[in-house]
Amino acid sequence: MSKTTILIFLVIILFAGFILSLCLGSVLLSPSQIIDALFSAKSSIYTDIIVEYRLPKAITAVIAGMALSISGLLMQNFFRNPLAGPFVLGVSSGAGLFVAILIMTGWYAGLSLGSIDIHQSTVVSIAAILGAMAVLLLLLLIQSINKDYTTLLIVGLMISSAVSAVISLIQYFSQSQDIQRYLLWTMGSLGALSWWEISGLAIALLVCVTVLVIIIKPLNALNLGESYALSMGVKVQTVRILILLTSGVLAGMITAYCGPIGFIGLAVPHLSRQFLKTFHPAWLIPGTAITGGAILLFCDIIAQVPGMDFVLPINTVTALFGAPWVIIYLLRKKLSGTFN
């Protein structure tokens, strides 16, 4: 199969998943009811379910899946390390820290004005963005001092664990309802975004992808390693910063609005490399994005528990239901050659 065929195939799966996620939920709807709800002039009882709930959730799932997968791909290629993912730089830990401080020091109680759902709070999202950006800036600073990839990777992991320790410490001194609020945030949610927030995420994703398209040629050259890239006239330092920024922003913004969603960013790049059998980022980036969007959509459908009136936390679904399939698929492959 040619790469184009595979991409088209993936798009079809994504599209099918999208329709499916609109149909399935606590109330099962047929596609015709959905079309009715979306396009007919008079609003039915389903219009609210679709427009206010299912549609934003499905779109969020696609955007989050795409953003996290691209971020993971960038990190794996940047560090030439198959174990890297969107969170190796400690971006989600930074977001988590700021959220923990906000919730558990009591500021949240003063600011939230009675908001019940931790995922619906703009204040929390802003705190998470600030936390992610703080870690990202710290890493940019570190990489300007020491350009060694392995050093940066280890420092990123150490920041993550140091920050986790601080979060534990804050938890230790906090009240139980605050700890529960924080834990709820870490479980992730795709269903709490307003249309404004979704538009913001979509624009940010678009900007990041545009940056990647602009630097697609140097990204490809970096496959040969930094020395060869330099010898071919690549502005390596600029490209490094752009990769770190793009990946950090993608991971950070999704963490801010949906919580730290695991597994997708680590696993999906490996899947798309296996599907497309290519090294070229011009294929890998769209392939990874579409696969990631589709997988998170299907995870979300499972999280809905169709026909039931409760929802599972998305983070548990990606780990419990998504991971086994990917593991089964990858068990039959050999990934050791991905990077030397």
Binding site: I214, I216, N223, G225, S227, S231, M232, F279, G337, T338
Partner: protein, 328 residues
């Protein structure tokens, strides 16, 4: 040479190389090289061969001094000039997952393609020229992971050829290759120099081949000096021994290779044609046969059969011959 080219391809003057000014790897290096010269850069491990190659190919910043490429100070070259004049093949022969030989060589056209990186017909022509020049055109659709070490090296050399750099820097292109592949690579380098008038600077430990093929040696010795001489000259004046200084080897002028010191000095007095006697001595040496060697030894060969004589006894197998001498 067209007018575009200066007579001197590359010149460097009072050059210091290394990663930090406090601990330079080597200082005050000077040499020049013309177009169509084939230079071997030799020296013990850690003498700074790789650092010098990376500095001259402008991959690594110099600490001090000037580098002049085609008459232009290297500080004033833009990225495209750099790519046009200098191309490097590093020691590590990387295998990139899912990449074919052709993909790799196509990346050689990188400095000349537009932002999206797509190749024109002319670019593709240059890619297939490079594949043909290195003799791996037939392997162009193979994945890098499917190649032998020698083919992989040729693929990486083809990449730098596609870049059409006028000066090539090769860092130990023959390390970990088998002897025929080593010879092929050195033959390829000679061809590039002769047919395309390229200047090639090869860091290498394969002295035998470098002595055969390279016009000049740049020897980085223990004192951190760069000795710029013809290989023959280095052999004749003995400075080639600097390469193995303190390691108990010396260059044997007759044999044209390095041998352990103080061997082959004993005259065993074996009768037979010289080329046969030489190899018997070789075996004696290796088996430490130096005491109590009997007088009447000879070796003859007819119709691919060897006959070793020890007094009245005859042997057709060398091992039996050696055993019987040892047991005396």
């Amino acid at each position: 040479m067209t007018d575009k080219y200066n007579d001197i391809a590359l010149e460097f003057d009072s050059l210091s190389i290394g990663y930090s000014k406090n601990e330079p790897v080597a200082t005050n290096l000077s040499a020049k090289v013309s177009w169509g010269e084939n230079i071997a850069l030799v020296g013990q491990n850690g003498s700074g061969k790789s650092t010098l190659l990376k500095t001259l190919s402008l991959l690594q910043a110099k600490l001090h001094g000037t580098i002049t490429i085609n008459g232009k100070n290297s500080d004033h070259l833009d990225d495209k000039d750099k790519a046009q004049f200098t191309g490097i093949v590093l020691t590590r022969r990387e295998v990139i997952a899912n990449m074919t030989v052709e993909d790799l060589v196509m990346l050689g056209r990188y400095p000349f393609t537009p932002w999206h990186g797509r190749l024109t017909k002319e670019d593709l022509k240059k890619v297939s020229n490079a594949l043909e020049a290195t003799g791996i055109y037939k392997k162009r659709k193979s994945l890098l992971s499917e190649l032998s070490d020698g083919q992989l090296q040729k693929a990486w050399i083809a990449r730098v050829l596609a870049q059409e750099s006028k000066i090539l820097f090769l860092d130990e292109p023959t390390s970990f290759l088998d002897q025929p592949s080593k010879m092929e690579i050195f033959g390829l380098i000679s061809d590039l120099v002769r047919k395309e008038n390229k200047t090639v600077i090869t860091a290498t430990h394969d002295l035998d081949l470098a002595i055969q093929k390279c016009h000049r040696f740049w020897l980085l010795n223990e004192k951190g000096e760069l000795v710029d001489k013809l290989p023959e000259e280095l052999i004749m004046d003995g400075s080639i021994n600097d390469l193995f200084a303190g390691k108990g080897f010396e260059f044997d002028l007759d044999q044209g290779r390095f041998i352990r010191k103080n061997k082959f000095s004993r005259n065993y007095n074996i009768k037979g044609s010289p080329h046969l006697v030489k190899w018997v001595e070789h075996a004696f040496n290796k088996h430490n046969i130096s005491e109590n060697i009997p007088e009447k030894l000879s070796v003859t060969e007819s119709d691919k059969k060897l006959i070793f004589r020890l007094g009245e006894k005859e042997f057709t197998r060398m091992s039996q011959f050696l055993e019987s001498i040892k047991s005396m």
